[in-house]
């Protein structure tokens, strides 16, 4: 019996690592997509954090968020620079908000709303950090376009996530494993 739960826990860790790797993969996909505006991001790498809401336990969810930040930092080589603060702050804020929205508002909020909330939290924290670290008060000038672009892309990502959990057979299988 002990053996079984042990191997089960190991499988869970593997699953978190897989989702974290999936986030890394999506950020390379994102990198390849041409963008009309320089600071525009779709935030594809946040998809695992959105779909993980329904299939991960609390601790696993936190682990996924941390692994996403560390992995991206290592791939881009920015892990020991200021950049990691932006990515850490943004990811932790959005993970927290998305988690709370999903846990307590699932009945009224779809993944689209979850994605909007997460993106706004992430972008506000990143603007605050850019004011503190890089641009000073001038960070407020980039706030409106930054927030608008973030809002639009988060809606697109939310619709995408919603469609994914509704049509994916992988997701349905994972969901059944846990029930």
């Amino acid at each position: 019996m002990i053996r079984h739960s042990e191997s089960n826990r190991y499988a869970r860790i593997e699953f978190v690592a897989l989702l974290a790797a999936f986030a890394l993969f999506l950020s390379t996909v994102e990198y390849l997509i041409p963008k009309p505006v320089p600071f525009m991001r779709i935030g594809l790498a946040n998809l695992p954090l959105i779909i993980g809401l329904g299939i991960l336990k609390d601790r696993e969810y936190i682990m996924l968020a941390i692994l996403k930040v560390l992995g991206q930092g290592l791939v881009t080589g920015t892990i020991f620079s200021y950049i990691i603060l932006f990515s850490l702050g943004g990811t932790i804020a959005s993970a927290l908000v998305m988690y709370l929205l999903y846990r307590f508002g699932k009945r009224w909020i779809s993944l689209v709303g979850v994605s909007i909330g997460g993106a706004m939290a992430s972008n506000c924290v990143q603007l605050l950090l850019s004011q503190l670290i890089l641009f000073g008060a001038a960070a407020r000038l980039i706030a409106p376009p930054f927030l608008i672009v973030g809002l639009i892309t988060s809606i697109i990502l939310g619709i995408f996530a919603q469609q994914f959990v509704q049509t994916s057979s992988w997701y349905r299988a994972e969901l059944e494993k846990r029930s």
């Binding site: 929205l101 709303g113 909330g117 706004m120 407020r140 919603q162």
Partner: protein, 124 residues
């Protein structure tokens, strides 16, 4: 398509409110009070909302200005009569302090509206 729920609309409205309020920050950068300092034929400019010390050199020696909490004063000066130090703290646009012996002139510039409108940090 039963994709959108009521809460989504609420979140969208809140987000739009945040976006719209972020446009307010554009007003902050017009007519923000500045401290202009002239010594000899050079000019220096400082933001009145940023605390700082600065030293200027004139015919008599050094004059040190201090900006703190949105006000400015002469902290120390090598001149004899110390009238500039006695002038104390000034902060309103149009206010000025002069140190005649050392040829240092300090002037607060900006519009009153910006002064009252709040050079604060609530824009986020």
């Amino acid at each position: 398509m039963k994709q959108f729920k009521l809460g989504d609309i609420a979140l969208l409205v809140i987000s739009l409110a945040i976006v719209i309020s972020s446009f307010n920050s554009y007003g902050d950068f017009t007519g923000k009070p500045e401290v202009h300092v002239r010594a000899g034929n050079k000019e220096w400019v400082y933001d009145l909302s940023v605390d700082t010390f600065a030293t200027f050199y004139g015919p008599v020696g050094e004059t040190t200005m201090e900006i703190r909490d949105g006000k400015v004063h002469v902290h120390d000066s090598d001149c004899r009569n110390k009238v500039c130090i006695a002038a104390g703290w000034v902060s309103r646009p149009g206010d000025w302090i002069i140190c005649l012996p050392n040829d240092v002139f300090i002037l607060v510039e900006g519009t009153m509206a910006a002064q009252e409108g709040g050079v604060d940090d609530t824009a986020f």
